[in-house]
């Protein structure tokens, strides 16, 4: 990783934690930092180009939107992983799917309009694949945070 100067670090911190929600958010950010809007846009563009910033936008809470989601795990024979992975990925309600280092080797998240709909989708998928699926819905959330400190603690 290239060395980030203090202004880039401040931009990253603000972008993650208190990005202004305004018609001209980059101008508001620039004013907070005492630099020009053009400079802010240029620096963000560079951090996107370098791959540090994935995107600028939002993350929605599917539960609050009235949707149901569950984490599902499967034990898939080694020879069937790519086939099974592709079939799972075709489902529009599947947002994340990972091959993992565990007896349960395929883990995916399914979002559906209701628990009943999710159960239907999963039972059809079990039939199609001939493999059982363990559904592990959330009972309680203790933490969700998708930002990291990139300031002082970042020695890279």
């Amino acid at each position: 990783m290239t060395t980030k100067d203090q202004i880039d670090i401040k931009i990253l911190d603000t972008l993650q934690n208190e990005f202004p929600l305004e018609e001209r958010p980059f101008l508001a950010l620039a004013r907070q930092l005492g630099i020009s809007e053009a400079d802010v846009l240029e620096r963000i563009a560079a951090m996107k180009a370098s791959g540090l910033i994935r995107r600028i936008g939002g993350i929605f809470d599917s539960g609050r939107m009235g949707y149901y989601s569950t984490l599902c795990a499967m034990e898939v024979p080694a020879g069937r992983i790519s086939e099974v992975g592709e079939i799972i990925n075709r489902l529009p309600g599947v947002t994340h799917n990972y091959l993992r280092d565990h007896a349960f080797n395929i883990w995916f998240t399914l979002t559906a309009s209701s628990p009943e709909k999710a159960a239907r989708i999963l039972s059809e998928l079990e039939k199609d694949l001939g493999l059982p699926i363990s559904s592990m819905p959330t009972l309680k959330v203790y933490k969700i945070k998708v930002s990291f400190e990139v300031g002082a603690s970042d020695e890279a």
């Binding site: 600028i56 939002g58 609050r64 309600g93 799917n97 395929i106 995916f108 309680k140 933490k143």
Partner: protein, 157 residues
């Protein structure tokens, strides 16, 4: 909390990458026959009611120096989960901590996503979490390959 078409288009925009321009909402506003201030007001409302959980930059963990990540699932008795969950939530290296309903033969019901800068740091961190939470039985379930990563399409799912 019914979503109308304008909300759906706003969600679609925000789930992607907003234009890196002085007026990032102007194009969407014109397309929807709305004003930029209406768009901003709707986003603010979604944020206020918790539908929009985060607004801002999403980083790539790998690029941010966090190259060693794992899902760690912990065996917690029902009367241990809350206390352990709160302790785990206080770790800055833990981004997600959920209690899940799990099959009995799996048994690890407290899920955490743990992020570190090296494999050694990750191991040490997991040891610390175990010590502080008092949970000693856990499964480290590392990702080998990302098969899909997408945003939810809030349509007829």
């Amino acid at each position: 909390m019914k979503l109308d078409d304008i909300d759906r288009e706003i969600i679609r925009l925000l789930q992607g990458d907003i234009p890196l321009e002085t007026r990032p909402f102007v194009q969407l506003a014109e397309q929807l026959g709305a004003t930029e201030s209406e768009i901003v007001a709707r986003i603010a409302a979604m944020r206020a009611n918790g539908q929009l959980r985060r607004w801002g930059a999403v980083l790539r963990h790998h690029q941010a120096g966090y190259t060693a990540n794992a899902m760690v699932a912990w065996r917690a008795k029902p009367d241990q989960a809350d206390q352990a969950g709160e302790i785990m939530a206080a770790f800055k290296e833990i981004s997600h901590c959920y209690l899940r309903q799990v099959p009995e033969d799996f048994g690890y019901s407290l899920f955490t996503m743990v992020h570190a800068r090296s494999a050694a740091e990750l191991d040490a961190l997991i040891g610390q979490i175990s010590l502080q939470s008092g949970l000693s039985d856990y499964a480290v379930i590392k990702s080998l390959q990302e098969l899909k990563k997408a945003s939810v399409q809030y349509v007829d799912l």
